[in-house]
Symmetry: D3
Subunit: 283 residues, 6 copies
């Protein structure tokens, strides 16, 4: 497998699950129409321009069905591709390749869609100091893959889950009886390798969070004017993240305010798929 | 749980997996900032207009974290909602509700996005005899939920996987040594409760498939003119399905040609999420 | 592994489970009496005449315990064997071979028993157009293996489960409020690649099902006379399947009535095992 | 659930697995033809005389699909039933009952078949001191259920697997370099709560095993004359078990020789199913 | 269940696994000697002085075997107990209580042993500002329980695993080509909610880490003199953690140097069990 | 892998679980600081004198993360090591080795701790006929590994769980209505390859158990005088096991009384870890 920082066991699990839902009781069409042992040569072709991601997952999918299938990379995750470009070639038993085809492409289409949209956001803020981040708004069960695709598009990951970062949102403050109390408790009860990020919904809250020693402040759904003012309030005493309702149209002006991070849910919950197809070729 | 035709065991599995990736080693923020036993009242609110889907999955998510949480339906899957409308209310322990929040919303946002896009396609062909179908281009591991969301949007499901329908595609014909041979084998080797659908990429192939006794012919990436001609060729001797590259702009003219099914991959691979939020309220 | 159309992941699961129940906490006898590393040569021998099935599952069983064990095929699934004929030879570590012995033989004995009984039914209808099918009356957890064994005996599979075929039985009609309503709903609500089979318990119901457009009619527990009459009623407008209470004595006369399928529960729920033994030999 | 000594977790696993293979991607017929929420009353009826076993497993199957289904026992595992006798009644949602029907019956049919055959063997040796035992020749994955069914038929269980009994067979002796060495090692290396059973294939070996201190000797495939002589040789110094090739015709004469145990593989590998059906009734 | 911050799904998994290894194929003694349905009243009694932990896990163990068993708390996790004090009472079926006894006690003995040893370390540093922390040196598979037991003993948790804290050890620096480069990469490549802890093995490295902006410095295996000097070097510019070779004899003098955290592997890898027993009592 | 009598599937499961809890969502430090593909050479070094155990489990841990990592044995399980001795060498990708390091060492530290303590007990009774045994007081989920470590230390295993040995304890007798009744039932209801051990808490009970035909009597918490008297009472008519409250100080005098087995819970519940470290070396 092409080296990637995706854990093989994570890939193994999502691939097994995806294959199970598509072919577990058998691929009746291929079993019926194609003789076992029929050799097969095929190409995976991009059908649109974009950034490719997910090829190692596609490889793992073909290998899960038949470890003998040869999978040759013609492109690497994170590289730009144009429509009609081949990104991988396959050699193996037709049974195995046809049975795995759709599942493998579903991974590549989704992940490349995310990488492609991420790359557009990253390009939009080029030259500013702001970095485009993902969120936890990922497809259920595909968190690790979605976040990897963001990296392939040039984006930066936010925390992986609720377990590796303290982010005190409005709801936590309310349940704790106020922001100050929530921050005090967080400092007291969490382990000493976690920073503390605090969501602010007004400039007042920005000031309050700054004074209480937040390491990062998340500016929730603020416009350019408010964000600029927040930057002035904080003056580098902590980092700033912008989140909520950001589009390709608005992202640059927010970045130019001088924030550190811009997190965009759409990267993973609304990226349209990038189309790919698998085509049999003469050996 | 609200009755739905989603299998509880399928829901249970996807919910467990989604929670695991987000909170398995613990929700450090909630554990630190909110005292165990703090009561919590909350609403789930739509933030845009659309068709809601996935509420029983959200309910299952909250119950997986704490079976004591009360989940009250204020809307039902398949109903239209407008921005700022409440779709569910929650009562329970703040720990459990805050830990499950994001995972539950991720389900509802994705599924409602699919239902909403499906409903637009269904509306676009209203009055024609054509039915909008999904494809197998679903998010890996979420097949059953994606297809349920299509139903909630008024769409019709195609086969669930490779195991419950014979669909002879171009690649099968090539691997079998031709369409006729592929169809002969399929009839011979598959069980007697399956129809046979055949993909045709030209009008010639439509004729060939019709003559060989296909039950359904899939017209792959054909334009309105070709589709019309295919309808004439077939004259009701088998059913017709259109697939490939269909958009909201083109779908009606294809439907008006007189086809039976229009299958649209975008329903499940490119539907933008419908936004929802969870807001704490005073008890 | 010998190529077969059994999915390796299905084999893997049943083998793991079967080994677990027999040897999970350890094979105390072999561990105590045989030194690790003792080489072992063994033959698997048929102890009765019949059709062998399950050798790839036996191979997988030995390999699950020790991938180094060599498994040589001396017969192939689906071939006839006579008592005292060797069907496979084994070379490897005595620990691994003795620990896996019983589990491997249990698979081969059961599957060969099914294949052998199937072959007798198939022979009994030779020359008629009727095909012998299995049912869903399989040993729980062994569906895929039982159905594979039926194929090895020359039989034909019916649907794999409740998910890949519409078969409206008496109980569905009752719950739906009548056969006609059940068929109407089935046509409306199921995907377009499924045929519809309808169970008929009287000649009246045969007529009703034929008129309502059933693709296949299952004649439930009818005698030769009734079956003959059903053939006349239907006159090829749909296919006919006979089911219920069929024995080796009655099967040919039913087949000669001109039906298409005869499904026999006994193939999988009452086939006596075919005996095999594993015998150590000098290397 | 009716109290039984079957572990709920074992039942839970086999039921989940069996349901998965039959209905995991959905019961398309019931979903299509029966409206959700349709009430259903049904009886499970024996279609032949025998000993019933497996009702708690059937109950668990219906409950796995829908915990709300009411399952009323009209007979208990281990009791004799006659054809047309009702053994259980069901009330619940038609969807759930029809989806679980076949899987539940498959358990009861197999387990009652085993119990019924066991009861015939037990009756055949009535009045002698011999006890009818099962073997490890069970359906892979169903060991615990098969052995429970033997108990329900009045039989006695042999060891559960390779982990809870020392039984030195011919193959162990060969691999160890002789029976004496195998027994010496077994005494040395196994824990002190296990007896030692030794397989003897000749009267010489019976003598040898007795002298070396076997706790039990298994007489492998011996005829009545040999068994009688073995009884004389041993004179109560250890227990005797007869195994191999035993039929309902030969079992009594073997029992009358004075052996302690007669183990019969056919109980679990060749018992024909006992037929049951599920019939909807008016509420 | 008594509220605790242990996730029910984590408890469920470890309990299921522990029961499986002890009783999966059945508790032969209890099944044989005790009639099903025999009522049972029992107490769990501490047999030594210490801090109790694990009662909710014991409760879950009894409930996993039989949800009907009543488990009454007579002490709470984190409280001190003396020998012969009852910590819980049980009412239920004797079968279930006796089968679960050992597994439940194994949890309580181990967890209370950890809590008790932790409490001794915490007491030893009372009045200093130093906090006693655990490490990742836990029993494989029991991480969450071991760390919970540390909390019950008054200790503080360090990071949960490799996923929720950046801790650059000597091996990382070597593999990265030096400490400075390792820190630069860590800042660049990890998400913005993680602090950075750096292991220092000399006072030079303390200075280097401080200057490069470490948030926390871990003083590895340093004596009191070195630790004191490290405190002077850092002067509050970052936090200090002491680790390696700490005993109850040395811990206070290290704490008095003014460090923030003292992490002690022995808490979880070498705590002797605290003895408990389960005793049947008259109802 | 070095041959051992630990089942590869058991090792596979505990290793997977242990890695999951430590690194499942990713080793953030190594991923950030070390480039993929950095070669790494390392030694595992004992940091104290003792008996090593668990090296094959460590090997499996490194291989689970990366099958390409080379693991060279410099010592074998069961051999004595001195502080600063290398027990294994590693070559491979730094990512994989650093990610697996802690988990692998946790296995070796725990298992070597158990082996080392066992060896001390075994040495203490050298020359007497008594054998040191373990108990079921193992770390939950680690039963097989703990018992293997005992073997590596020269100890002998008691039964593996509740399924492979009849041991009638005080609680069973009480629940059965007396020792005699419990023994009668056990003989009647359990399979014929199990001996019967009976716990005695007084010399009266020793006599009673002996007369009722116990195969082994466990003397519970008796002192040297009582144990001596028990030996006289039994006079070799059954075996004797001493259990409860045994220490390195008392074990020899108990052994010298002439008992057969001495079972010591501390071997597995209170053995302090033996320290090991992993050190990178120049290639």
């Amino acid at each position: 497998m092409m080296p990637s920082d995706l854990s093989p066991s994570v890939i193994g699990e999502v691939v097994a699950r995806a294959l199970a839902e598509d072919i577990e009781p058998g691929d009746v069409t291929t079993l019926a129409t194609v003789d076992a042992g029929t050799p097969c040569h095929a190409h995976i072709i991009a059908k649109a321009d974009g950034v490719v991601a997910g090829l190692p997952v596609a490889e793992a999918t073909f290998h899960a069905v038949d470890p003998e299938t040869e999978f040759g990379y013609a492109a690497h995750d994170g590289s730009r591709v144009r429509a009609e470009v081949m990104v991988a070639r396959l050699d193996g038993d037709a049974h195995a390749i046809l049975a795995a085809e759709r599942t493998a492409l579903n991974f590549v289409q989704r992940m490349s869609g995310i990488a492609t949209l991420t790359a557009r956001y990253v390009a939009a803020v080029a030259g500013t100091g702001a970095r485009i981040c993902d969120t936890r708004k990922t497809a259920p069960g595909l968190r690790a893959l979605d976040k990897y695709a963001v990296r392939m598009g040039g984006g930066r990951n936010h925390r992986a889950g609720l377990f590796d970062g303290l982010l005190i949102k409005d709801n936590h403050s309310r349940a704790a009886g106020g922001l100050a109390e929530a921050m005090r408790r967080a400092r007291d009860r969490s382990h000493h390798l976690l920073k503390m990020e605090v969501e602010a919904q007004s400039l007042d809250e920005v000031q309050q969070a700054r004074d209480a020693g937040a390491d990062v402040i998340m500016l929730d759904n603020m416009d350019v004017e408010q964000v600029s003012e927040a930057v002035s309030i904080v003056r580098g005493r902590c980092e700033l993240e912008v989140s909520g309702g950001i589009t390709l149209e608005t992202v640059r002006s927010l970045a130019e305010c001088g924030v550190d991070y811009i997190s965009v849910g759409a990267l993973t919950h609304s990226a349209p798929a990038l189309d790919f197809s698998l085509e049999l070729v003469d050996g």
